[in-house]
Amino acid sequence: MATTGESKTWRRVTVAIPYLWLFIFFLLPFAIILKISLADPIIAQPPFTPTFDEQGGLSITIDNFLFLLTDKLYAITYLKSVVMAFSATVLCLLLGFPMAYGIAKTAPSVRSLLLLLIVLPFWISFLLRVYAWMGLLNNYGVINNTLMWAGIIDQPIQIMYTDFAIFIGLTYSYLPFMILPLYATLERMDLDLIEAAQDLGASRTQSFWDITWPLARPGVIAGCLLVFIPAMGEYVVPYLLGGPESLLIGRVLFDEFFVNRDWPLASAVAIVLLLLLVVPIVFMQRNDANLEAAE
């Protein structure tokens, strides 16, 4: 009996660890941010009013959220961030799927080398890699110089400090996060299934949409979430590659916190961003569950 009691305790401990982790590193910070978002900014340390006043009464305000709703700038920025993150996700999927498929179908000896090449950029600091893109995209950077040298253009094209540069930067930065989960699902897929579909009368295209695509769906969903979520709040890429007017929500968040030192408003921006991200996650999961049930 002693052993079962011991193993029970042990089981409880192992289950408790992830919950504890989530509590300390997710729920608690979230509660703090929520608390700050309901305060007023003051010039003090910390720069927001306490939740409880001197008499012990609750002192909260939803002014920050109302401000987000009334100032059109925020709505536009949120929308722009969603569109930008969404397009980068779609492009990552379009680029990543053939790459992941190709890697999964090569000989195992070559496969590990190709995977290494996908992961290799991570060995260099993210910031440096984005800096490198500045060198590529500049008016007198590698791309413009090459095009001018080749005689295709005679004036440099303005790529740097545009939304297009952000789009390139986001796609480049998050492509590996799309490729890796896709590779993991495609690699496990039984090639016999595709042959069986073709044997039963499906052309190559049909067998792809009937077999490969639905079986790769978990990887597609995981990849899209892994790209979309960080791309939504991305700060470095728009800051370095985007122009002063290309406002994305990550940058607004940063500016509110560190430039304007308006912590309550910044917290409200963060909470809304989080809500915006929860929607696609829940939608994807529901969609997946429905499809499972339907079949």
Partner: protein, 370 residues
């Protein structure tokens, strides 16, 4: 095992397949008749699966042509061939239920929905899976999955059904039962079946004819009985069942038999003559274990080949017993004997001196070097 001449249906003409330097299938010729249940039998890597995949269209032959029902299909992609294949892995689509798996081929042909429903119903009945139509593949047993794979391949009523090791994944009892079901289904539908297998017992029970394959070539093609009783090479004799072989020289040739003098057998061996054999030629006489008799006394049959030996080992298998007999020359032979009677006492014991004998007709002469 009907003797009547069947219409030639599949013609494999000088087909080869090379993978780099490796020759998987080496200039093979074969004709399979309509409605046959034909087995290609061989060990792993003999080229049997490659040949099957060429018939299905998954591999293109390096040379030669494949004709099905008078049409050259060599260059056709799999989805345009009048054949369907049952994969060794079954390759059941894991994201579709039983019904959708079976209907897949018909959907790809653009058949009307109500027609599909009817045909799927019929097929579910044939493979006895009516109660499982809504199940997902991961909720099925191995035997049920095998039936889904079979039903899915059969529903398009292909001219030829290709089966890659159809029973290999099933346990022994289920395998035996499924063998007969396969034969019944084949008989009902009249579709030509081509089975690839490494299991000689499976090939023997299922097939109208068997092709024994080794190193990309056919060693012998014939009815199961022919292959078993008259193996033309030592490889075939060994691959299908067990056989005792005695090397020797031909000393005399008669109208219907030859005499072979073997070092292991003191008396000359009479064996049925089949091909042209010269006197003095080195040949091999092969005798199946069940055709050799074992007795404590010298048999009275003068015509029989008789040799003395000692029981070296014996094994009781229930329905029969296996004996390993050491001949006077030290050579080991295997004899099997049916256990017709139940008795506590064994018929012979270890180290008993015995006589082994066989009728001259029981031996086969193998001239091939293989």
């Amino acid at each position: 095992m009907t003797k009547e001449k069947r219409k030639d249906f599949i013609r494999i003409h000088n087909v080869s397949k090379h993978f780099g330097d490796f020759v998987a299938v080496d200039d093979v010729n074969l004709t399979i008749g309509q409605g046959e249940l034909f087995s290609i039998l061989g060990g792993s890597g003999c080229g049997k699966s490659t040949l099957l995949r060429m018939m299905a269209g998954f591999e293109t032959p390096t040379g030669g042509t494949i004709e099905i029902d008078g049409v050259d299909v060599t260059a056709l992609p799999p989805y345009e061939r009048p054949v369907n294949m049952m994969f060794q892995s079954y390759a059941i689509f894991p994201h579709m239920n039983v019904e959708k798996n079976i209907a897949y081929g018909l959907r790809k042909d653009g058949i009307a929905d109500n027609d599909i429903t009817k045909r799927v119903d019929d097929m579910l009945g044939l493979v006895q899976l009516g109660d499982f139509r809504k199940r997902k593949p991961d909720q099925l047993s191995g035997g049920q999955r095998q039936r889904v794979a079979l039903a899915r391949a059969l529903i398009k009523e292909p001219k030829v059904l290709l089966l890659d090791e159809p029973l290999a994944a099933l346990d022994k009892k289920l395998r035996e039962q499924t063998q007969f079901e396969l034969m019944n289904i084949q008989d009902t539908l009249g579709i030509t079946f081509v089975v690839v297998t490494h299991d000689q017992e499976e090939a023997m029970t299922l097939s109208t004819r068997i092709a024994v394959m080794e190193k990309g070539r056919f060693l012998q093609v014939g009815e199961p009985k022919e292959i078993y009783e008259y193996p033309r090479s030592r490889f075939v004799a060994d691959f299908i069942g067990t056989i005792n072989t005695f090397e020797g020289k031909v000393t005399a040739a008669h109208d219907d038999a030859i005499t072979v003098s073997c070092p292991d057998v003191v008396a000359p061996v009479h064996a049925l003559r089949d091909t042209d054999i010269d006197i003095g030629q080195e040949v091999c006489v092969a005798v199946r274990p069940e055709k050799i008799f074992i007795s404590l006394e010298q048999p009275e049959d003068d015509g029989a080949v008789q040799i003395r030996g000692v029981v070296d080992d014996l094994g009781y298998l229930g329905n029969l017993s296996l004996y390993r007999i050491r001949l006077e020359t030290g050579r080991m032979i295997q004899v099997s004997r049916q256990n017709r009677r139940r008795s506590a006492k064994r018929f012979v014991e270890w180290d008993d001196e015995v006589w082994v004998s066989w009728r001259p007709r029981s031996g086969v002469v193998i001239t091939s070097e293989d």
